[in-house]
């Protein structure tokens, strides 16, 4: 073939041809509309390191603000082969397998407590994981024989979640954080983990976080055992929980 081979060690954006480096931008500058604004937008992208910058659209946005759409070329490359992303589970089991393994391998029921903590009232996500109904045809954990679910709902203070988890002797606490404005999710999640530590529960219960901007990595960083994002199905979470509990069980045995 008479085209360059893709070198995954030196990856660049692909517009219309390999390594052309093309990226699309849109942004606002707080400068009045006009030729100077356009030039300013162009030079700004150049300042950020882009070449061949083209401001393809500029519009007046009220007084003193201008909106831009642009294309430019990025020249740096990145080594794709070196990227490793930690994942909560290697393999996802289906509901049937999970229920079977709970009974046979774990040999006891699992107690799960879930909530949208602190200021967050977006329950749809955690409901999708926990409630009978589930999401997109995937039934929630309530429907799993062998899992006992307590869904505490919206805007539950961390203190309450932890107290409740203690009361029911929970194996796992699931918390959901959807709102991320001003990084409020980081603050809330950190508070939760600190309280849990204060209660000396940190090593006793599994902690799982979820939400559209939660990555597994972020969750680990903040002290959780796992994090789940957009597109999570109940079985993803159940698999992680079961695998962790089975591992604990085996670790104890040894």
């Amino acid at each position: 073939m008479k085209i360059k081979e893709i070198d995954l060690k030196k990856v660049k954006p692909y517009g219309d041809a390999l390594d052309d480096g093309k990226i699309q931008f849109s942004f606002t500058l707080p400068v009045p509309y006009g030729d100077e604004a356009k030039e300013c937008a162009k030079r700004y992208l150049e300042l950020l390191g882009f070449e061949n910058v083209m401001i393809t659209h500029m519009d007046k946005m009220g007084l003193g603000f201008s909106f831009f759409i642009a294309y430019g070329v990025a020249n740096k490359t990145i080594d794709f082969t070196s990227i490793v992303v930690p994942k909560a589970t290697k393999e996802v089991w289906d509901k049937h397998t999970i229920v079977e393994k709970i009974e046979k391998d774990l040999g006891r029921k699992i107690v799960v407590v879930g909530a949208c903590i602190e200021s967050d009232a977006h329950t749809v996500g955690i409901d999708a994981i926990l409630n009978m109904k589930g999401i997109a045809g995937h039934k929630g954990l309530e429907s799993y024989h062998g899992i006992e679910v307590y869904n505490l709902g919206a805007q539950v203070p961390s203190e309450e979640v932890i107290a409740f988890a203690k009361k029911v002797n929970a194996d796992v606490i699931l918390i959901s954080q959807i709102v991320t404005q001003k990084d409020v999710h980081i603050a809330n999640m950190t508070k939760f983990i600190e309280l849990l530590e204060a209660e000396k529960l940190r090593d006793k219960v599994l902690t799982v976080a979820g939400g559209p901007r939660i990555t597994h990595e972020l969750a680990l960083e903040l002290g959780f055992d796992a994090g789940f994002s957009v597109g999570t199905f109940p079985e993803d979470v159940a698999t992680f929980i079961l695998q962790s509990l089975l591992k604990k069980k085996n670790d104890k045995r040894i």
Partner: protein, 531 residues
């Protein structure tokens, strides 16, 4: 507010509509009996605010109205209402309003210590005072109408945009720029926590959470800013805030005093989505709506919210049923149809084949059932994703349905809905999208007819039938019982559960609320349908 007229195309059965409306009426009359016997702490605070008690105690970190009403509660005086004791005090002490309130708040004077005058004497004075307060509100109505006359206004679907920076001054920058880009209506989204506060924060605020606090001063600042930009763009720009939560009636009072034009106000939203006590909400919404109506403020109901927790395709009929109930509640509060911005939304999963046809059926059906109400149409939110390009197309489809079915208040969909609260540029693009679709399809609603017994027409009939059945069922059980069974939004709430229940009280025989009387009287005169 202008309301487009759209010709009937769905061949809906008038009998089923009428029956459904009758059921809703029956349902609401049942609740109204309950309401008529009660008042709440926030109603009483609203009354005080209408009298002009707008001060704040830095020391106690609470508004005067809260401190005063709390004292009445603690003194077990509340069942007569706040008016009696306020006016009685003013008459007895001869102090000006501010000074009298200062004394009550500081504890220098206690209500109990003031000897009660004859009820009729107090009532007379109260009516006089209330009349002069009402005139202020009436002047706002006159002023609004004059400005609309002078500057003109947009044309429906009115383009409605939100600002939500948390800082009222930053909101002003963004709101004015949105108006310059073509918005007709600006809503200042409230800080999340606010609806559950049992007081209205005070003064200009610059820190909010996912929104900006609704305060009287913030209302004023934004109203001035919009008046300024109205002049600049040659079009009256309407202002919206949230008349919801534990302080619903107070916010209604503030909105009336500060010339807001539209307020989110629902007879059940607080119950379902904020877990506010049912009794509290029903009582609060009654007085709130009366104030809204008196101030000629268009309300927006919150049925769109149902579709964020239940499925928009399966539960479409709950939206209609709820709208019929909201309508009846509003009528009970002497609000004419032209002020009822009943809410609905474009929330069916776009992965359902023919989704557009179902959305169109729903929107057109609602328009045909409420032809004289300035319907509030909400954009897709739940099925928006981080793919802003796809989102922009979803919004374009929503815009198309809106203009095809003659919606009135058109909340703009944001391509970044699933990502962040809107950037200034998101608003700009979203306005451009809607303006373009509306212009290019300007007369489409008049041009297009629907096949008899086609997908669109059958879907509308089905939804209407389902709503009819649901309302019939509710009639049997009663609304409160039905809500406790999770009839709306898949959410269950009990009669005594939820926040704010302790603010509800049974009115005394000598209970006095002069505003209620004045508003009812004047609303009857203004709207012949109520006399």
């Amino acid at each position: 507010m202008k309301i487009n007229s759209v010709k009937s195309k769905l061949d809906l059965d008038k009998k089923i509509i009428d029956e459904s409306r009758d059921y809703a009426k029956e349902i609401v009359e049942d609740v109204q009996k309950f309401i008529d016997l009660r008042s709440t702490s926030s109603v009483e605070r609203a009354v005080l605010r209408l009298f002009g008690v707008e001060w704040y105690s830095e020391e106690q970190q609470l508004p005067y109205v809260n401190i005063i009403v709390d004292k009445l509660i603690n003194d077990n005086l509340i069942s007569r209402g706040s008016t009696y004791y306020l006016v009685n005090g003013l008459l007895r002490t001869g102090l000006p309003l501010k000074e009298f309130c200062d004394n009550i708040v500081s504890g220098k004077i206690s209500f109990k210590s003031i000897e009660p005058l004859d009820f009729e004497v107090v009532k007379k004075k109260a009516m006089d005072m209330a009349l002069s307060s009402s005139e202020k509100i009436e002047q706002n109505v006159v002023k609004r109408n004059q400005m609309i006359k002078d500057y003109g206004e947009g044309q429906p679907p009115y383009l409605y945009l939100i600002v939500a920076t948390g800082n009222i001054y930053e909101d002003v920058v963004q709101a004015q720029n949105a108006a310059r880009s073509g918005a007709d209506i600006i809503a200042v989204i409230r800080s999340t926590a606010q609806s559950l506060l049992d007081y209205v924060p005070h003064g200009a605020t610059t820190e909010g959470f996912g929104g900006t606090y609704a305060t009287q001063e913030n209302f004023r600042i934004m109203r001035n800013a919009l008046d300024e930009v109205s002049k600049e763009v040659g079009k009256y720009i309407r202002l919206v805030n949230y008349c919801s939560g534990l302080c619903m009636p107070e916010i209604a009072a503030l909105g009336a005093l500060e010339r807001l034009d539209v307020m989110l106000n629902d007879s059940m939203y607080g119950i379902l989505f904020r877990d506010i006590n049912m009794q509290r909400t029903f009582v609060d919404q009654y007085f709130s709506r009366m104030i809204n109506s008196f101030a000629e403020i268009v309300i927006n109901t919150g049925e769109d919210n149902y579709l964020t927790t239940s499925d928009a395709f399966e539960k479409a009929h709950t939206v209609l049923a709820s709208e019929l109930i909201n309508e009846q509640f509003a009528l009970k509060a002497y609000m004419p149809q032209r002020l009822m911005g009943l809410g609905h939304a474009f929330e069916i999963d776009p992965d359902i084949e023919n989704q557009f046809l179902y959305e169109l059926a729903q929107a057109q059906m609602i328009k045909e059932i409420f032809p004289n109400s300035p319907l509030k149409y909400m954009p897709p939110t739940k099925f928006m994703t981080g793919n802003i390009f796809r989102g922009h197309v979803q919004d374009a489809l929503f815009n198309a349905v809106s203009i095809m079915s003659g919606q009135t208040i058109h909340l703009l969909g944001m391509l970044t809905e699933a990502i962040h609260t809107p950037f200034m540029m998101d608003r700009h693009l979203s306005l451009e999208n809607a303006k373009m679709v509306f212009k290019t399809m300007r007369n489409i609603s008049d041009e297009i007819e629907f096949k008899k017994d086609g997908i669109i027409s059958n879907r509308a009939k089905k939804v209407l039938n389902d709503a009819h059945n649901l309302l019939k069922e509710i009639t049997k059980k009663g609304l409160m019982e039905s809500i406790s069974e999770g009839i709306f939004a898949d959410i269950k709430r009990s009669l005594d559960g939820g926040k704010g229940f302790n603010g509800v009280f049974i009115k005394d025989d000598n209970y006095l609320n002069p505003f209620e009387k004045i508003f009812i009287e004047k609303l009857k005169m203004r709207n012949p349908q109520f006399s």
